[in-house]
Symmetry: C2
Subunit: 228 residues, 2 copies
């Protein structure tokens, strides 16, 4: 069993503010899990008894709307913690998390996190700052969803994905999303997303083969985002 004290992933999130002692205790109560692609980390409405620290892989966090369509709120990757929101406000989860590829995660029980939040103010402040950052992104997303066209949102999403996941040796964005996933990120029908991707391809803005997408003309995407 690997130890939190030595875990490199910890350096990228709020857990870096924990003391040696606190980390040893965390190591003792955490459980490491392998989540296969497509498997569910937690469901909407589920009671979370802790948080997940992502050691490897990416998951999509989404919420079902009443008209039966799924909206992806964010993609969470290696180094991040997921589930703190529900834990802090002591509610059932309002979101669902599904692995986009094989993941390795550590589950840290609620009691341990709550204890650290109450004892270690630097940790609490760090979690608070993270949440403030998430809230800012969420506010920006609200404005985008309400005010931008689907085409603008697709262009924006492509650039986001590019900067967040970087590219492989061939220049393809380092994340595999189905057309449906892409549609669920930008909040549109799958057909519309496909159509716009094809249009971007025809206009030499992007290039793709299946799920491998490569950005050819970043300036053109910027132009679309900021409205001609």
């Amino acid at each position: 069993m690997s130890k939190c004290e030595q875990c490199i992933v910890r350096q990228f999130n709020s857990l870096k503010h924990l003391s040696k002692e606190e980390l040893v205790r965390m190591s003792a109560c955490k459980t490491t899990k392998i989540i296969k692609k497509g498997e569910v980390l937690f469901e909407e409405g589920e009671h979370l008894n802790g948080v997940f620290c992502i050691k490897d892989g990416v998951c999509k966090v989404s919420k079902m709307s009443e008209n039966g369509r799924n909206q992806i709120i964010s993609l969470v990757q290696k180094g991040n913690i997921i589930g703190e929101r529900s834990l802090v406000s002591e509610e059932i989860s309002n979101l669902k998390a599904v692995a986009l590829n094989d993941m390795e995660v550590c589950f840290i029980p609620k009691e341990e996190i709550i204890r650290d939040l109450e004892k270690n103010n630097a940790f609490t402040m760090s979690v608070l700052k993270d949440m403030a950052t998430s809230l800012k992104s969420a506010d920006n997303l609200i404005v985008d969803m309400a005010q931008k066209t689907v085409k603008q949102r697709l262009a924006e999403t492509l650039l986001h994905l590019h900067s967040k996941f970087d590219t492989d040796s061939e220049g393809n964005i380092n994340i595999q999303l189905s057309r449906e996933d892409i549609a669920n990120i930008i909040g549109t029908a799958t057909e519309s997303a496909i159509r716009l991707l094809s249009e971007f391809k025809k206009n030499k803005i992007i290039e793709f083969k299946g799920k491998e997408i490569k950005i050819l003309d970043e300036a053109a995407l910027d132009k679309i985002i900021h409205g001609f």
Copy 2:
């Protein structure tokens, strides 16, 4: 100059977790302001040097989208604190706040809040919980904006306003919003909002005279929200 220790508004927000001593110090450094209807509390891009505790009145919090349209993110009323997000993440404000009616607010300098956050863990936890709640609402709003129709969003907004601001003796919702404000809340063109309000009126779902709006058929609104 009124004292924070005796301020009733404090009971409704995180400041209730401060000690007598902390409140006395806060009283000494806070400034009370009257903000007239239409005046700006803070601008997008402005550096906030503190937070506002709202003693009376309501303000709209909005963000300009790049295509020149304004999106109202939330309405904040008596008892709430505004500006903590930017303060916590030490960034310029991403939002603008404008008074919807005459307001009385207390401005509490940044240093004072930061000091309390660092010293008083119960206060920090309370701010964290508030932010978790805001984040949940924001996530829900993202899904609504992305997945619901303008009509559904208007119906939802009317019920929200009704439950948040209650009604006067005549049964009218206790908040005065222009048609443009309503459009900016639901994320649509002013004309579209006007058209739908007229439709609701024609169908006896609501009734209005100018900015006085009264809900007649709550069940019909629910039906619209949840999709026929």
